[in-house]
């Protein structure tokens, strides 16, 4: 499984902007971590059902009835930028360099 890791691509997928120092140290450390976990490949797991939860949980349905909920004002109280119960964010289109946004 071992292969070189494209840190740039990974950071992009993870929506992280890394510093030069982080790019270098992460490249090495993540390589080591992946090498460490690769020992799992030694095990024969043919026919084993993946275990996605600690206990066998069954989907629980509830009645489709409206209940109490947070108001828009409360929900946006901790937002970095909000107005009239809406979250404010930079433009979706354009580029950061054009000076539009955040």
């Amino acid at each position: 499984m071992s292969q070189s890791i494209d840190i740039e691509k990974l950071a992009h997928l993870a929506k992280l902007d890394l510093t030069e120092v982080e790019r270098e140290s992460f490249g090495r450390q993540i390589g080591e971590i992946l090498e460490f976990v690769e020992q799992l490949a030694q095990l024969d797991t043919e026919g084993v059902e993946p275990m996605t939860s600690a206990l066998d949980v069954q989907n629980r349905f509830r009645d489709d009835a409206p209940g109490e909920s947070l108001s828009a004002e409360t929900a946006t109280q901790s937002a970095p930028a909000a107005q009239d119960g809406f979250f404010l964010v930079p433009p979706v289109l354009g580029t950061a360099a054009t000076g539009k946004g955040s």
Binding site: M1, I5, I7, L10, A11, L13, A14, K15, L16, D17, L18, T19, E22, F26, Q29, I30, E32, I33, L34, F36, V37, E38, Q39, L40, A41, L43, T45, V48, E49, P50, M51, S53, A54, L55, V57, N59, R60, R62, L70, T74, A75, Q77, S78, A79, P80, A81, F87, V89, P90, P91, V92, L93, G94, T95, A96, A97, G99, K100, G101, S102
Partner: protein, 502 residues
């Protein structure tokens, strides 16, 4: 300084101490220890005193009081509190106050507990030393050059330094049990689903579980009784009655109980002699109590840590995508003060650039590292080899537990390979830090409850713990065996030097 939960509750009930007096004492102890230990991220001076006075008024008026009325407790800063910040010890959430209480916090308040403050932790609970906290590291009350463990290091140090008799931590891979062992106290990770996760800021949702830390088994039983219970708002919370855990504390006879010793783990290279001795001494104690000791091996235990370090980062990378600078938490503009944009973000769309700048500024290194590992393991082409394979191995690990519990009631083994290590010792070596979880992650992967008990002291005077594990939903068995152990040993009565019981 405040000693055991059961003693303080007795003082409160008998009227020998008022809730205000106890709370003032807790606040004084925090004032005295915070500059050196740094167990807290937030202290709720006024709110705690107000809550205490309300308890005293109710008591004076002869109103019926809930079981923990007037007991100060500290809450790990990963659990939501509507009246205090909830930072996860991260710059990302430095100024975040949630709009609601976590269910277990609400349960504790309803039981009369006074929430005195929030405790320090590794950032987003990722770590084993509380050194990755953005709020400064926490020191071990037994030796201030050593770590209290992690990630619930603040919660453990808060008890061991005498500021509260009970604290609430969370345990994803050992984060209650390892700090409890390092700080010479008792820590209980309940069965996955025993306590609600609503309002527990998610790290790895299929592994996270909250639980109590205190001096004795009796104390953690009192804590769990108040926290636990079915919560319809958490789809993984188990809909089962919580038994009377305190009645299990009275045990001093383990006749007919079969305890399986995990000999393989004790004999492993790198396990400290003091840890080996604590486990073998404990075998004798349990034998004297009437239990039968047999040898047990969990075949896939060498694969616990690698399995955990695939599953936990995968879940973390998904869970932590919610921190985007849009809804709550830290927002960082992609532009600097002069309006210039870093080269790496210049071509990104403004919203995307804000996400990336905010996450880069808000998260610390260990969190970023785990998000990157999880992102890699979940990415197209690698999903089957890493994530799916880890989930299959997890089933094999669970199978080992099922097989073992067909022939024994409990498992006995170490909590950690060594007593508390020095500050800075493992911080630059992620894999060395991950190996701290060698003996604890099995319980999280299998979902079983586990208890860390003070069971020895090494040559340098540091506490050493042992671990008991039980089948799912069998906390009462753990508590009975743990209480039996503490009825015959004194390790849970040892206190760090400088600890003055008043």
């Amino acid at each position: 300084m405040l000693d055991s939960t059961s003693t303080i509750l007795e003082l409160l009930r008998s009227g020998d101490a008022t809730a205000r007096e106890v709370t003032e004492q807790a606040l004084r102890a925090i004032g005295a220890t915070q500059p050196s230990i740094n167990a807290y991220t937030h202290v709720a001076y006024d709110a705690a005193l107000n809550a205490a006075e309300a308890v005293d008024r109710d008591r004076k008026a002869g109103r019926p009081l809930p079981p923990l009325a007037g007991l100060p407790v500290a809450i790990k800063d990963v659990l939501c509190t509507a009246d205090m910040p909830t930072t996860c010890s991260s710059n990302m959430l430095r100024n975040f106050t949630p709009p609601y209480d976590a269910t277990i916090v609400a349960n504790l308040k309803r039981a009369g507990a006074i929430v005195i403050g929030k405790t320090n932790m590794d950032e987003f609970a990722m770590g084993a030393s509380t050194e990755t906290s953005a709020m400064g590291l926490t020191r071990n009350p037994w030796d201030e050059d050593r770590t209290p463990g992690g990630s619930s290091g603040g919660a453990a140090a808060a008890v061991a330094s005498g500021t509260v008799p009970l604290s609430i931590g969370t345990d994803t891979g050992g984060s209650i049990r390892q700090p409890a062992a390092f700080c010479g106290i008792t820590g209980l990770k309940p069965t996955y689903g025993r306590c609600s996760r609503l309002g527990l800021v998610a790290f790895a949702s299929s592994l996270d579980q909250a639980g109590p830390l205190g001096w004795s088994v009796e104390d953690v039983a009192i804590g769990l009784q108040a926290m636990a219970g079915y919560d319809p708002a958490d789809s993984t919370s188990v809909d089962q009655e919580v038994p009377d855990l305190q009645s299990a504390v009275a045990t001093d006879n383990l006749q007919g109980v079969r305890i399986g010793v995990l000999r393989d783990s004790i004999d492993q290279e790198g396990v400290a002699p003091s840890v080996r001795k604590a486990v073998s001494d404990a075998e004798k104690v349990f034998t004297d109590l009437g239990a039968e000791i047999v040898e047990v091996s969990l075949r896939h235990s060498p694969y616990w840590v690698p399995t955990y370090y695939v599953i936990a980062p995968c879940e973390a990378s998904s869970n932590l995508s919610r921190f985007d600078g849009a809804h709550y938490g830290h927002r960082q503009s992609a532009q600097d003060a002069d309006g210039a944009v870093d080269e790496s973000l210049a071509k990104a769309e403004p919203l995307e650039a804000m996400y990336r700048a905010s996450r880069a500024a808000g998260f610390g290194s260990e969190v970023k590292r785990r998000i990157m590992v999880g992102t890699y393991a979940l990415s197209a082409g690698y999903y089957d080899a890493y994530y799916n394979q880890a989930l299959k191995v997890r089933r094999l690990i669970r199978g080992d537990y099922d097989t073992a519990f067909e022939s024994v009631d409990l498992l006995l083994g170490p909590v950690t390979p060594s007593p508390a290590f020095g500050l800075g010792e493992n911080i630059d070596d992620p894999i060395a830090m991950y190996l701290c979880d060698l003996f604890t992650v099995g319980a999280n992967l299998a979902g079983v409850p586990a208890l860390s008990l003070p069971a020895g002291v090494d040559d340098e005077g540091l506490p050493v713990g042992i671990q008991l594990q039980a089948p799912v939903m069998q906390e009462a068995k753990l508590i009975a065996a743990g209480a039996g152990f503490q009825s015959k040993t004194e390790y849970h009565r040892l206190r760090p030097s400088g600890f003055i019981v008043s």
